[in-house]
Amino acid sequence: MAAALNIQKGTSKHSAYDLRDPNAEAVERHTLAVIVDNEAGVLARVIGLFSGRGYNIDSLTVAEVDHEGHRSRITIVTTGTPAVIDQIKAQLGRIVPVHEVHDLTVEGPSVERELALFKVVSGGDKRVEALRLADIFRANVVDSTLESFVFEITGTPQKVDAFGELMRPLGLTEMARTGIAALSRGS
């Protein structure tokens, strides 16, 4: 795959109905929130759409958000040219149990958070340094032995990435990330 030019939210001049050459477009990263009926197979439909039509999934999270109304919220981070992103939204909208598709990247300001667990196995200076950095990143220690820590960190994906990079030379052995949850700001 060609190296993707990662244009961040709000930096694209494209609007939905611009006439543009799909081949001459840069790839953008969008966060989509999809409200679905919480019924059997709905996640398979969404994932199957992405794999069947060759779209990218960078991150995907899903959980029930309205127990009485049987609604789940799927948050998907995807990359593609603006034309592809438009298609993804239209295709998601066609799935029968999908109620709403929100493109948080274009619908105004939004917050994105991810939770991650990092296991760091080390001793001596490295162990001290890991603990010090964790403090700066406001990561919590949720498990500790004499040789290891498990840190819990919450933040933007960039913050989680940065913490992971710092932990790598300090004895990082395992990590688990939830994927992104996102909401629009304000009311």
Binding site: G41, G52, Q87, A90, G93, I95, V96
Partner: protein, 584 residues
């Protein structure tokens, strides 16, 4: 609140949905439903000979009536055999409700006998599907299934019913009490955008209507409005393979079909137009040719009920999401209220240009008095049947299908049943059965190639059992003609596996099933032979021995722009360039 078994519910729900016919094939996992079918007379069950054929028959029924087709098959192999038909219906937007039996809920996931993950297998090839685990939810689900299949862009849906759910008792709900839910696609188009389109129509110098299957899907009102609009504006109109008949072939605006094997004048008009009005067509690759060179000078409007069809391959300036009939009604009203304006002088020039293109006579072919040319066979079929108001034509897939689209004229919608999107060989014969079931007294002809026809030839049993007078008009070139044509244009005439060496004697084959067979090989006998076929009140296999190496033109070679068409005379070995060879 009526209590009944799940199996009874299925039949009751079908009755309440107004279903008259079910195409199916029984098996262990649907026996309780078959038992209920046995004990009633309102719903007719047609026993096919293969589940794929049940689905194609239901497609033929649906396309020729505008009503959803219904299929009933068993679990496992019954369901997997139906997959090709279901995919075909998805690609061509045909409303179907497919009911499959499943192993009992307590055995699901155990690799039980004749278990298949039917909802998993059919998830990508249905518009939606359901596995019903509770008899109380069954009736509601079936009603929802009809709603989803027929609302918005139509398509196939599937309801998978485990056997224990069929035996158990539950509460029946009627269609009006069912939760048809939030699924209510938008049918009215945006007024501002429609007005923009009307403004563009008032000044356009070289406008064209490009219509498709969506007009047929939308129904009779759409056809009426389209005809009125075309005739009142005097704009030319072309249609895709799927939209034939929505505007009459004898109408004064008609240019003929467009696309890969469409007419020269239709494709050139699409290329040179300054306003393209796409109504219910999806810019398929058979139409656009090389996308970058598609109709470079035009403003484009696209009316489609499915937002994902808009801006998928071709960017349009005027996207209008809505149902064809609703949008055309508004557009026509706005156009009239603004004084019915068109650019008359420019239109006259535009038509003069089109007449020039027509002089190319792109459908010309070299006829013969020794051997029947396939084009000639279709011209004679057209001449001898075009006055029949009740004529329905089905096709298989291949050269014969394209020639049928070029040489037969359609005056009304829902009279042309063909597999466009998936291109499924074996579609036509069972589809003709479905059409004949829906229209018992009509003339139903399946224009076939011998290769395609053999793919579902077992349906002779169905045709004979139900005394269906379907006419199987086989253009027998003893070749997989369309494949052979590509091999001649693309692969140096190396005819790798594109012919059969052991074709049956079709006359004897007909007789073996208790039907009539006719063979014809001499152009001089053709009219009489066709008359004999038409006069016979029963199924007929017409084995029309035709020229073996005829190619179908015009043709846009794959990978080329849509105005660079090959005409009959340009036949050359390397007509398709290397870059186009990877395309299908």
């Amino acid at each position: 609140m009526t209590q009944m078994t799940g199996a009874k519910m299925v039949v009751q729900a079908l009755k309440d949905q107004g279903v008259e016919v079910v195409f199916g094939y029984p098996g262990g996992a649907v026996l309780p439903i078959y038992d209920e079918i046995f004990q009633q007379t309102e719903i007719r069950h047609i026993l096919v000979r293969h589940e794929q054929a049940a689905v194609h028959a239901a497609e033929g029924y649906a396309r020729s009536t505008g009503k959803p087709g219904v299929v009933l098959v068993t679990s496992g192999p019954g369901a997997t055999n139906a997959v090709t038909g279901i995919t075909d219906a998805l690609m061509d937007s045909i409303p179907l409700v497919v009911l499959t039996g499943q192993v009992p809920t307590f055995m699901v996931g155990n690799d039980a006998f004749q278990e298949a993950d039917t909802v998993g297998i059919t998830r990508p090839c249905t518009k939606h599907n359901w596995l019903v685990k509770d008899t109380d939810a069954l009736a509601d689900t079936i009603h929802q299934a009809f709603h989803v299949a027929t609302s918005g862009r139509p398509g196939p849906v599937l309801v998978d019913i485990p056997k224990d759910v069929q035996f158990a008792e539950g509460t029946y709900v009627e269609p009006r009490a069912a939760k048809t839910g939030h699924y209510q696609p938008k049918v009215k188009g945006d007024k501002e955008m429609i007005t923009r389109l009307v403004e563009a129509m008032e000044t356009a110098e070289r406008p064209i209507f490009y219509t498709g299957g969506g007009v047929i899907n939308s129904g009779d009102a759409a056809t009426q409005l389209l005809r009125e609009f075309v005739d009142a504006t005097g704009f030319p109109i072309t249609s895709t393979l799927m939209g034939l008949g929505s505007y009459p072939a004898s109408g004064k605006g008609w240019l003929g079909m467009l696309g890969m094997h469409g007419l020269y004048e239709a494709n050139l008009a699409m290329h040179d137009c300054d306003l393209m009005i796409n109504i219910g067509a999806r810019f398929d690759d058979r139409i656009t040719g090389r996308v970058a060179d598609f109709s470079p000078h035009s403003r484009k409007a696209h009316i489609d009920i499915d937002p994902s069809s808009i801006n998928k391959t071709i960017r349009v300036e005027m996207p209008i999401v809505g149902d064809v009939a609703h949008v055309l009604e508004d557009a026509l009203r706005i156009w009239k209220s603004r004084g019915r304006k068109v650019n008359k002088a420019a239109l006259a020039e535009w038509w003069a240009q089109i007449e020039e293109w027509r002089k190319v006579e792109c459908l010309r072919y070299r006829n013969s008095d020794k051997i029947i040319k396939p084009q000639y066979a279709l011209q004679r079929l057209e001449a001898l049947t075009k006055d029949r108001k009740d004529r329905y034509i089905c096709t298989e897939v291949g050269q014969h299908q394209m020639w049928a689209a070029q040489f037969l004229g359609f005056e009304a919608p829902n009279r042309w049943m063909t597999s466009g999107g998936l291109g499924t060989m074996g579609y036509g014969f069972p589809a003709s059965i479905g059409v004949q079931i829906a229209h018992p007294d009509a003339l139903v002809i399946n224009v076939a190639g011998e290769g395609s026809w053999l793919m579902n030839m077992q349906e002779m049993g169905t045709a004979v059992q139900y005394s269906l007078p379907v006419k199987q008009f086989i253009l027998n070139n003893e070749r997989l003609g369309m494949v052979r044509q590509w091999q001649s244009l693309l692969h140096g005439n190396r005819y790798s596996h594109s012919w059969s060496e052991a074709l049956p004697d079709f006359v004897k084959l007909a007789e073996a099933f208790g039907a009539k067979g006719i063979q014809c090989s001499d152009p001089a006998d053709l009219d009489d032979a066709i008359a004999e076929m038409l006069a016979h009140d029963g199924p007929v296999i017409f084995d029309c021995l035709v020229e073996k190496h005829e190619n179908c033109y015009p043709m846009i070679p794959s990978g080329e722009p849509h105005h660079k068409m090959l005409l009959g005379e340009d036949t050359g070995e390397d007509a398709i360039k290397a870059g186009g060879a990877v395309l299908v």
